[in-house]
Amino acid sequence: MSTIGYDSWAVDLAEVGAVYPLQGTEWLMVILGVAFWIGWHRIQFVREGAHLEEAKHMGDEEKIKELLKKY
């Protein structure tokens, strides 16, 4: 039993192809991967919107002036 399809390297490498675990589940991995990617955008988008809304009211005028002068 081996997750990669080989439990020994006593093989002719010319006949070896894919060696990653869980071959045959590529579709599932793609679905998980795409969900991770889209989910990341969603989380980031919501957080950034909330952060910018909060930041609009955050600034202390003196501190901002100081920052602007620092260039």
Partner: protein, 453 residues
Amino acid sequence: MDGNLNALTTVFTEFYYWVTVVFMFLIHVGFCMYEVGASRRRNHMHTLMKNVMIIPLVTVTFFFFGWWIYWAFPNAFPGMGGIGWEAGAPYAPWSENMGTHLGDRITGVFWAAFLLFSWTAASIVSGSVIERIRSSALWVHAVMIGSVWWIIDAAWGWHWDGWMVKVLGYHDAYASGVIHAIAGGYALGVIMVLGPRIGKFAADGTPRDIPPHNPWMLTIGLFLIYTGFWGFYAACNVPVIAPEVIDGQITGTTWTATNIYLAPTTLSAITFNFLMSLSGGLMAAYVVSKGDAFWTFSGGLAGVITASAGNDLYHPIQAMLVGAVGVVIVYKLHYWVERKFKLDDAVGAVAVHGYSGVIGLIIAGFLLWGAPSSPYEGYATINPIGNTIGAAIMFGLLGFLPAYVLARLQAAAGVLRIPREVELQGLDYAEHHAYEDAVHAITEADLAALTTK
């Protein structure tokens, strides 16, 4: 890998592309340094993060669909044959070839070489929009240019089977158009909707210079981009291939390096031309800008970009002159557009990449007129009309247009630009003060410890 020579060729090719990828990483490091150097102190972390996160987002999407587009879309244009489902199948994300596979030693490194081009395309856009775009908006644009639009243009005009090569005789060996013109056009589409930074234009419309906060960082960034550009050039070649493998019109048994169209060139030729076009660009930019450091160094880059379309075949002196001519036009055009249309291109990306790319393609069409675009029979030869149409497709159809439409949608939804208050106080305001508060607290604690000793 039957036979020792084939095995050696395969392993050499695998290692060759891997080395180009490592070199090209420096392009992104350079872009990060450049953008941070150009931005003001109150926006540093946001600017850096905006560019760094292009790396994972473009990488995963280029795995999910970008690489498949390259192989499936060479003829995906009305009247050209449609999507090549069979050709694309080995490069779909669920294919065995897109994983650890002992029978395929090339797909991973070739994918990575193209991926690094994708980062570059997205990063070019990133620079022009600093200090006022929302990260979430830029990252959607990064995915679109990095994993959709540029790779469609590569399939059409930077693939041995691309319809633009076959029908138009389009020739763009080192990506004047397929990377630089499209990215410049894309940046233009976004900044037209995004608008200028606060203070960029006076009340009467006169443009103000917004100098980099750290010119040295900017300079090192540009030099790193030059360095990475060597890897970019090498990655555009097939390092060694036999005529029978190309299976085109080349006769005899002499192995050769080729450009991306599988037409012969040499690494030596492109080394000559890279350095001479860099030099032509630097010299012309120094003169035209009266020694302005930003424009002189950017002019070196613009020189290479202008000559890139034909740098597989040019004579080195031609490469130098093409680079020089391109830079003069680009410099003049940049300031004319800025004054006329009130556009704020923070790093000159539209000019250095977009205009240079377009000019380079047009010049290559004339200078290489009649030369074969491909080793295969029946392809149109290189010509000025084909390359000019190609330039319009790259800059306008696949660059400017989709960027403009997406940016308009984002603007309409209120998710393109940061609020005015935040732009003034700086995107790093919260982090900046958290840092200062932490420094203050730890300094106080250390002083207290000193007095109680």
